[in-house]
Symmetry: C2
Subunit: 217 residues, 2 copies
């Protein structure tokens, strides 16, 4: 009788926290306490503790020597290294996904893309970030590559808080969108064009996040 009857609470807490980090609900540098989160989320301290430990291991959070856990503040070097990797990993995932692409999947992607455009029109930052995340990982999961998928996930959680800041700063006007080119290439089954479109999308995102802050006093 082996079935998954119940999902352990530390997993649900983990998922919730990860989602919040990914969508930038926490500011970079903000400190998180076990007790505070447990109260806020209506969970026990033990599951929260384990979830924090896991997120720290994934570099979604940083554990200071003071035993204090904070949302990491990325340096310029960190960001350039993250994009160095993203520009390798995510186009490759896109390339591999092309082989497994189905009409059903393409339709699903088009629907998500429509939602993204709607969010952009309304200037809804959170909806944009959420849609963009779903769009990319709907492609990546199709590649069926454990290792690359996990790496991409890790990079996204690390960049999440900073990306949120950028969006808040510039609004949704200049958001990268090579999604139409990407969808065309995917539906044609052209893996090189798909990978290139992904590279373009990432390059735009990199420019945005590396741009100097608008008005730093």
């Amino acid at each position: 009788m082996n079935s998954q009857t119940k999902i352990p609470e530390h997993l649900t807490v983990y998922s919730q926290l990860k989602e919040m980090i990914l969508l930038g609900r926490f500011a970079p540098g903000q400190a998180l306490t076990i007790f505070g989160l447990a109260e806020e989320m209506g969970a026990g301290t033990t599951p929260v503790r384990e979830a924090l430990r896991r997120l720290t291991a994934e570099h979604a959070l940083t554990s200071l020597e003071n035993r204090r856990i904070i949302v990491p503040e990325l340096s310029e070097k960190d960001i350039s290294d993250i994009y160095f990797l993203r520009l390798i990993v995510e186009p490759e995932l896109t390339r591999q996904s092309t082989k497994n692409m189905t009409d059903t999947k393409i339709d699903q992607l088009r629907r998500i893309d429509a939602q993204i455009n709607e969010a952009l029109d309304h200037g809804d930052v959170v909806a944009y970030l959420e849609g963009n995340n779903r769009f990319h990982f709907a492609i990546y999961e199709t590649a069926q590559s454990q290792v690359l998928f996990q790496t991409a996930r890790s990079l996204w959680v690390q960049i999440g808080p900073s990306l949120r800041i950028v969006c808040g700063r510039y609004g949704t006007a200049n958001m990268p969108d090579k999604h139409s080119e990407l969808l065309d290439a995917l539906s044609r089954g052209d893996e090189n064009a798909a990978a290139q479109a992904m590279r373009d999308d990432l390059a735009q995102s990199h420019l945005l996040i590396s741009a100097p802050p608008a008005h730093r006093i």
Copy 2:
């Protein structure tokens, strides 16, 4: 009064387990229980539990749906993806390390290399693995790149158990060793040659690990 007076136990347990996994003390597929490890290591169950959770997050261990934790068995696809990444990340770390290379560091690397050669002569698999690990990461830490360093660490822990199997199968005769070329390039400050030597080293390792098992019944 902020100083690091005492190291938490879950960290030491984590380090010990990671070391054991890296050197292949556990076979791929082997199950690990919290209680068993706690007894074996003379630690409490709480620190062991947290260490396992962290190692699982780093993909050094795999958490089955049964809640059972095992040492992962890598598929061919996993291995090729890991080497795809290694061939990007580790040469780049080597390249970046060239800028920060000092004579002291070079000497240290030469000493480690001598120990590796001694281990190879004696057919000492564990000493070889340990030396090789120290050699590579002594280079990588010099690069001062958080993100790439962490990625390399993660990839090594994942490949560890499989590498151990390969070494046990073929002995230490055919182990990759482009270390002299690497050391020469590093001491000349030739970053391209250094990165290339690292690529060659990894390519050899990849060949070895992808080779068909000798006599599978």
